[in-house]
């Protein structure tokens, strides 16, 4: 599973990455993380706002902080 966090390095983006990592560890999933910080790469996704969570190239959430339950829901196969 490829997980991308889109964000320019703001506090919220780091928090989202931390939450997602925790959820991944909890579920015991094998996942690769990437924190995308370049503006033009972020803008290639259909998002307007950061932080955004992209799982296997599908945007799951953008512009707000999802709760841990939501993240777990997206990660479950």
């Amino acid at each position: 599973m490829l997980i991308k966090i889109l964000g320019t390095g703001c506090a919220k983006c780091n928090r989202l990455e931390q939450l997602t990592r925790e959820a991944v560890a909890e579920l015991g999933i094998d996942a690769t993380f990437e924190h995308v910080k370049e503006m033009d790469r972020i803008m290639a996704y259909p998002v307007m706002t950061t932080p955004a969570l992209v799982i296997d190239e599908a945007v799951k959430v953008s512009g707000r902080m999802p709760s841990r339950e939501e993240i777990v829901g997206w990660l479950k196969p």
Partner: protein
């Protein structure tokens, strides 16, 4: 040596007056509102009006709305700007958004209103709105043929609304801010008065007056006994909130409740009238006290209707804003107090004492070359005002300072290109000067209708001229 002591004393005095007078009833609710806007208002709810197919009369006001509601912190400004420009409504609304965001977000506005007066806050938001939309339209017109870099993506602007309870919650917070700061008579009407017998009250106040002298000419406000108590309470809140709010995203802890309770109690205390007299402390309960207490009380049942996660996010975001902005503001206010002792009022009055084109330009140039962190422009403006700067040039400075910093110029030129970015800078300088002149003329007594006619006429002529130039150019 004596100069140094005076300077340090002036710095501390300005800090003390700032903490006691401005922070509580204005900035504390404003921080909570900023947190709520960031955590509880889904950005999609405003962004859906900024899609590539949105008509102009929708997208420009929506861009301004996005600027004041969503962009409280610079880390949202950059992606939003790039997104509106690249995928959505285009260059014009993106520029409007960029221009409006720093001048009209809730923190800047409420702080301006309390430190400089409501008329400055209203002038700031109105002028930023008019000129922000004007500059956006101009830029869109100037670079009309240049839309290649854009790749409209309507799917990024899907629907979404704001749940009603979120609106009600933010509304209550805004009401709290207004009730705590608005200077109208009926809010100050007296409901009850008690006198606490304390022989030392007058002496204690006299001591404070000696330590923090009141100096109307230099804009030093002094410090009251109530102010001193508030500073102590503020320190306490800070100490408790460090864990209580800073760790709230891991779950509510006992300190969360303590810090919120303390904050509300402090807000209510700040809204009391306290006067030290010869027979003791006279304490008056006004309509304001009651309003602040009732509104704080109203927040609790509303908060219970949210999911815990939403409230945790709200408090976490609030604390994040405090941690990000407050230290810079404290340092800034202190330094402003120090610097104030070195500036002669005559200098300011000679350069910007009256509402001339040159004075307004001076305000703009100072704003462009001095880069102050968010909100520090307000105490600086207050210092200039007390030193005798005319309100016109002051508004010109307030418009130019947050809009044009080296940092914002670099970001914009990376996203929209150097030519567009520097055109934008030139336009902002031009329009900020015009805004200062307009406000200055109004303060000097020019009729509103005449002024509106002149500003509107000037904009219309500019747009017409551009249209004509564009037409002439062979395609």
């Amino acid at each position: 040596m004596e100069l140094l002591v005076t300077a340090l004393q002036s710095g501390l005095a300005s800090l003390a007056a700032y903490l006691a007078a401005h922070v509580l009833l204005c900035l504390v609710p404003a921080f909570f509102i900023a947190g709520a806007l960031s955590a509880l208002v889904p950005q999609q709810s405003i962004l859906r009006f900024l899609g590539p197919d949105a008509p102009k009369y929708v997208s420009y006001p929506a861009a301004a709305g996005a600027g004041s509601l969503l962009a409280v912190c610079s880390c949202t400004v950059q992606p939003l700007f790039a997104g509106i420009y690249g995928k959505g409504a285009g260059l014009g609304p993106a520029i409007t958004f960029l221009f409006f965001a720093p001048a009209a977000n809730i923190l800047a506005l409420s702080y301006t209103g309390v430190a400089l007066g409501a008329d400055f806050a209203i002038a700031r938001i109105l002028l930023a709105l008019v000129f922000g939309i004007g500059i956006g339209l101009l830029m869109a017109l100037l670079f009309r043929g240049d839309e290649k870099a854009r790749s409209p993506m309507p799917e990024a602007f899907s629907d979404g609304g704001i749940p009603r309870r979120n609106l009600a919650f933010v509304g209550t917070l805004v009401a709290l801010l207004i009730a705590g700061t608005l200077k109208v008579d009926w809010l100050q009407a007296e409901l009850a008065r008690v006198t606490l017998a304390w022989d030392g009250a007058a002496a204690a106040q006299a001591l404070l007056d000696r330590l923090v002298p009141v100096d109307e000419l230099r804009g030093a406000e002094g410090l009251s006994l109530q102010g001193l108590a508030l500073i102590v309470l503020l320190g306490l809140i800070g100490a408790v909130a460090w864990r209580g709010l800073g760790k709230v995203d891991e779950g509510f802890n006992r300190l969360t409740a303590v810090s919120l309770g303390l904050t509300f109690a402090t807000l209510a205390f700040a809204a009391l009238g306290v006067r030290a007299g010869s027979e003791g402390l006279g304490i008056t309960v006004t309509v304001r006290t009651l309003a602040v207490a009732v509104l704080c009380g109203l927040l609790l049942p509303q908060a219970r209707r949210f999911e815990a996660w939403d409230m945790q996010q709200w408090l976490w975001e609030t604390w994040r804003f405090v941690k990000m902005i407050f230290p810079l503001l404290v340092v800034g206010v202190f330094l402003v107090g120090v610097v104030r002792t070195f500036i002669q009022p005559e200098w300011i009055q000679a350069i910007a004492g009256s509402n001339t084109v040159l004075a307004n330009l001076a305000g703009v140039v100072f704003g462009v070359f001095m880069y102050f962190p968010t909100l520090v422009e307000v105490p600086i403006a207050k210092m200039f005002l007390s030193l005798g700067m005319h309100p016109g040039p002051l508004i010109a400075y307030l418009m130019a300072d947050p809009e044009l910093s080296l940092q914002s110029i670099l970001i914009t030129s990376a996203i929209i290109g150097k030519l567009k970015a520097w055109t934008y800078v030139g336009l902002v300088a031009l329009f900020a000067t015009a805004a200062g002149l307009a406000y200055g003329a109004w303060v000097d007594g020019m009729a509103f209708a005449t002024l509106a006619l002149m500003v509107g006429g000037g904009l219309a002529v500019l747009l017409l001229a551009l249209r004509l130039i564009e037409r002439r150019r062979p395609c």
